[in-house]
């Protein structure tokens, strides 16, 4: 039933600024979303991700810049002329209409014939697994079902772009995981260019082809989820996508070799970076405790365990190294050795796993 070519449209956000009064909420953002892509705006609340989504839908206006969909500049078009589908965070089903009426609404606006509306609505409800729910009222549906009706209502008019504003945030944990699989499956099947807004990095990682990490109205970093995780280019991205240890300090030259000295006087020799102030990032899972191997790349530090948390599959230790607290995650199995608080241990990590940020 779906003609995929209709869906293969890109979105280009060009030099966009948005102000709320004097509040500069979107600061010169440029994003190019490819046709058929599942793209995510990720960031904390107030970062501007929802504003950006509403800008594409036409509910906000840019004081500068353009929004281009496919070939068309839609910057000045009102929402009802854009043919962009949006699923709202609260689903926004009209309580005075049945499920059928809700889904048929957009088709009626397009003056499509009754018989065709009937079969299109039916197909659309089948697509989201809600066949037979036509005569229910929104108030008679569970949260997950309302979500599906909202999706069906949006997709039935064959929009060029699908916008999803935190669609999973009102669902319980189990349903959320099911829904995110279903949404992704649907997106892949239809091939529709989709923009997804979330504050949950796990959702972003699981679903997206590419992610834009937003903070304070700017794009901190844009890329594939695994690239963002492995190679964050700033502290914000590093911390927002998972836990990370940060060492602040300086790289100095020592007999032709480079050495890093942190504020807390932790020293790391033979590093590959440049002299001057910098920050070092290291993920908790990259550490070993009391590893007796001797390799050139292995850096060793003395420390004392000050806290431990049992998280199920992993044990998270907080270790004091020269008064710097470092988080270390070890995989937990039933025969793993568990260290005690106050234990003196030797911490080690592979020097190639270090990430450097200029500061």
């Amino acid at each position: 039933m779906y003609d995929n070519s209709n869906f293969q449209t890109g979105v280009n956000i060009k030099d966009v600024d948005v102000f709320y009064g004097k509040n500069h909420v979107i600061k010169n953002i440029n994003i190019d979303i490819k046709p058929g892509e599942f793209f995510t705006f990720l960031g904390p609340s107030g970062c501007g991700k929802t504003t950006l989504l509403r800008l594409i839908a036409g509910f906000e206006s840019a004081s500068k810049g353009k929004v281009i969909i496919g070939e068309n500049d839609v910057t000045t078009l009102p929402p009802w002329k854009r043919n962009i589908g949006m699923v709202f965070q609260n689903y926004a089903l009209w309580p005075h209409m049945s499920v059928f009426k809700n889904v048929a609404f957009g088709l009626e606006q397009k003056k499509i014939e009754k018989i065709e509306i009937f079969s299109l609505v039916k197909n659309s409800l089948e697509l989201v697994g809600l066949e037979g729910f036509e005569n229910r009222r929104p108030s008679q549906l569970s949260g997950g079902q309302q979500q599906r009706v909202a999706l069906a209502r949006t997709l039935v008019v064959k929009p060029m772009i699908l916008l999803l504003d935190e669609p999973l945030s009102n669902l319980d944990a189990k349903l959320r995981i099911q829904m995110r699989k279903d949404i992704l499956h649907l997106q892949r099947k239809l091939g529709i260019t989709t923009i997804f807004v979330t504050h949950d990095q796990e959702e972003a990682n699981v679903m997206s082809d590419r992610v834009a990490v937003l903070n304070n109205g700017i794009v901190e970093q844009l890329g594939r989820p695994e690239d963002l995780y492995n190679n964050p280019i700033n502290l914000f991205t590093a911390n927002f996508l998972g836990t990370t240890n940060t060492l602040e300090g300086e790289v100095v030259s020592n007999n032709g070799k480079l050495k890093f000295i942190s504020k807390e006087n932790i020293e790391i020799n033979n590093i590959k970076f440049k002299t001057g102030k910098c920050k070092i990032l290291l993920r908790p899972q990259n550490f070993y405790i009391n590893n007796n191997e001797i390799k050139d790349e292995l850096v060793k530090l003395k420390g004392k365990i000050v806290e431990k948390e049992f998280l199920g599959n992993i044990l998270r230790y907080t270790i004091n190294v020269s008064e710097k607290k470092i988080l270390v995650d070890l995989i937990h199995e039933d025969n793993s050795l568990i260290y005690k608080i106050e234990d003196e241990i030797e911490l080690s990590f592979d020097i190639n796993k270090l990430r450097f940020l200029e500061s």
Binding site: Q89, N90, F105, P138, T154
Partner: protein, 561 residues
């Protein structure tokens, strides 16, 4: 958790139930009973009703009451719709001010406004004198039933305004945005989304207006319109006496019509509580108006506000004016009317006395009833709630007639005065009439208090009395105060029950005195001065209860009836 049923609880329940039965159920039942009894033989009969429908004057009165109520709803809607739509939908200065001004007519008894309206809009009133001079014609605003319709719709349109504004504000922004997203805009969007979603508020308000207008006695009486149902019932009882069955028949018809109107509104609203599904809230997106649109919107609003505030303007002029007849404005101004009423009357003192006692009993009953209904498992507790709320549907006139019927046969102890003519009976009538307001406020306040707050006090061994005193009542205090003020202020302008029960000028409250003064041309000035005082009392009361309610931030539909 529901509380255990102790002896003291059962006793409280019994006392409240007896009070409601004696002062609400029995009088109303006696009205019904008398209407169905042959006055000569004492047998059951429907002859009284047949007589009613054989009498052309009565039939005419019945249809006139219906016609006036329907037309008032229509006219009130034309005042309320533009005000509520403009102020919730568009961005412009003074939205809040306009909405508050729109509520002002409510704080004046409608029969008081009627006199002022006659002076401004009557055949020889200010407006028609102007029209006649400049255009050469007059408009019969106040002729016959027109006058009642005009006065009633001005007075009661705020019920529609309040409910409509509340339901428009309850419409989630995304309701509108998702329709726009699917290609809908402008009128289409209004018709398909905004209008149906605001319908529950409109129906709630409109049914109230219908009910109030249908039952109102004072306005037609003051405008000399006798061929309506409520005035007929009153005249019948006061002229022929309390043994004549026709007055009771009419009271029964009033009660049945009120109940039917409430029931129909309830049916229309069934399953239409949309607030639960609209999680975001925050109202519709407000659009900016361009210059021309702004001028037109302000024009419409100022025109409406001028009309609906006219009674207040007229009343104020009248209270300070010397002679005002066949002229645009009073000939001269004086303070004598105010002097006269302060020197010669105890009406104001009576009103304060009656209304504070009534409002105090109301909140006492309100707290106890809501606590018993919500927090205990005593058998028949819902009965208290139903009965107390049912007072809403009983027209004041019917209650007054019922009191006369029921209590006239008993005398006060140690005297020959009938119980029905004792001043305290007026207080009790006011208490019953205004109990629903206090009860509703208490119910709302109590449902917002988590039962865990009480249980955590119980864990420390506190008794029910201590819990009520130290936890529940302090948390409910805002609701209780709001209930007290609403009951007090609305009791101060009550006329239809009191007019039946005042047997002695000395015992009369303010509203009755205004009515009595307004009967004669010479009494209009002092009557207007009393009216201004009533408006001030109710206005101050309403202002404070609004402040209290606003602090509680309850955004639900307000039913002020």
């Amino acid at each position: 958790m529901k509380l255990r049923n102790t002896v003291s609880l059962k006793l409280t329940f019994f006392l409240i139930a007896s009070f409601l039965i004696i002062f609400l159920v029995i009088p109303v039942v006696s009205v019904f009973y008398t209407a169905f009894i042959d006055p000569y033989s004492g047998n059951f009969t429907i002859v009284n009703f047949l007589d009613f429908f054989k009498n052309r004057l009565f039939i005419e009165s019945f249809f006139n009451s219906f016609y006036v109520a329907i037309m008032s709803v229509i006219l009130a809607s034309t005042f309320a719709l533009p005000l509520s739509y403009f102020t919730t939908r568009f961005q412009f200065r003074g939205s809040v001010l306009i909405q508050s001004l729109g509520f002002i007519p409510l704080i004046m008894p409608p029969f008081v406004g009627a006199v002022a309206l006659k002076l401004l809009f009557g055949t020889n009133g200010t407006v028609n004198l102007f029209l006649n001079k400049w255009m050469g014609f007059k408009v019969p605003f106040m002729e016959g039933l027109n006058g009642v319709i005009f006065a009633e719709s001005i007075h009661y349109f705020p019920f529609i305004l309040i409910n409509l504004v509340a339901s428009l504000n309850n419409i989630d922004k995304t309701m509108e945005e998702s329709a726009q997203n699917l290609g809908s805009s402008g009128l289409n969007l209004f018709r398909k989304i905004v209008l149906p979603l605001s319908m529950p508020g409109y129906v709630a308000g409109a049914s109230l207006v219908f009910l109030k207008v249908f039952d109102d006695l004072g306005t037609p009486l003051l405008l000399d319109i006798n061929n309506m149902l409520a005035p007929q019932a009153y005249l019948r009882i006061s002229a022929i006496g309390i043994d004549d069955p026709m007055g009771y028949v009419m009271a029964v018809i009033l009660v049945v019509t009120s109940l039917s109107a409430m029931w129909i509104a309830k049916l229309a609203l069934a399953g239409k509580d949309y607030s639960m599904l609209q999680k975001g809230g925050g109202g519709l997106a407000k659009r900016k108006l361009n210059f021309m649109e702004k001028i037109m919107a302000y024009g419409v609003i100022i025109f409406i506000l001028f009309i609906v505030l006219a009674p207040h303007i007229g009343l104020t002029l009248l209270s300070f004016g010397t002679i005002w007849s066949f002229s645009y404005f009073p000939d001269a101004y004086t303070l004598n009317h105010y002097k006269e009423i302060f020197e010669t009357s105890n009406f104001i003192k009576n009103t304060f006395l009656y209304c504070s006692i009534a409002a105090f009993i109301d909140i006492l009953l309100g707290v106890l009833i809501s606590y018993i209904v919500i927090r205990t498992s005593i058998r028949g507790r819902e009965f208290l709630d139903y009965i107390a709320m049912a007072a809403l549907a009983i027209p004041g006139l019917a209650l007054g007639i019922g009191y006369l019927r029921t209590f006239y046969q008993y005398n006060l102890p140690f005297s020959n005065q009938p119980l029905a003519s004792w001043w305290f009976i007026i207080v009790i009538a006011l208490t019953i009439r205004r109990l629903p307001y206090a009860l509703r406020a208490c119910n709302a306040a109590l449902t917002q208090i988590s039962i865990y707050l009480e249980e955590s006090a119980e864990v420390f061994g506190a008794s029910r009395y201590i819990i009520l005193k130290k936890i529940v009542i302090p948390l409910m205090i805002a609701g209780i105060l709001a209930g007290f003020i609403t009951s007090f202020a609305t009791a101060a302008v009550e006329l239809s029950a009191t007019i039946m029960l005042v047997s002695n000028e000395i015992d009369a409250p303010l509203s009755y005195a205004i009515y009595a003064y307004m009967q004669t041309a010479a009494g209009r000035g002092p009557g207007a001065a009393l009216g201004v005082i009533a408006v001030v009392i109710v206005g101050v009361g309403t202002y404070f209860s609004q402040r209290i309610i606003e602090r509680k931030q309850s955004e639900k539909l307000i039913n002020l009836n």
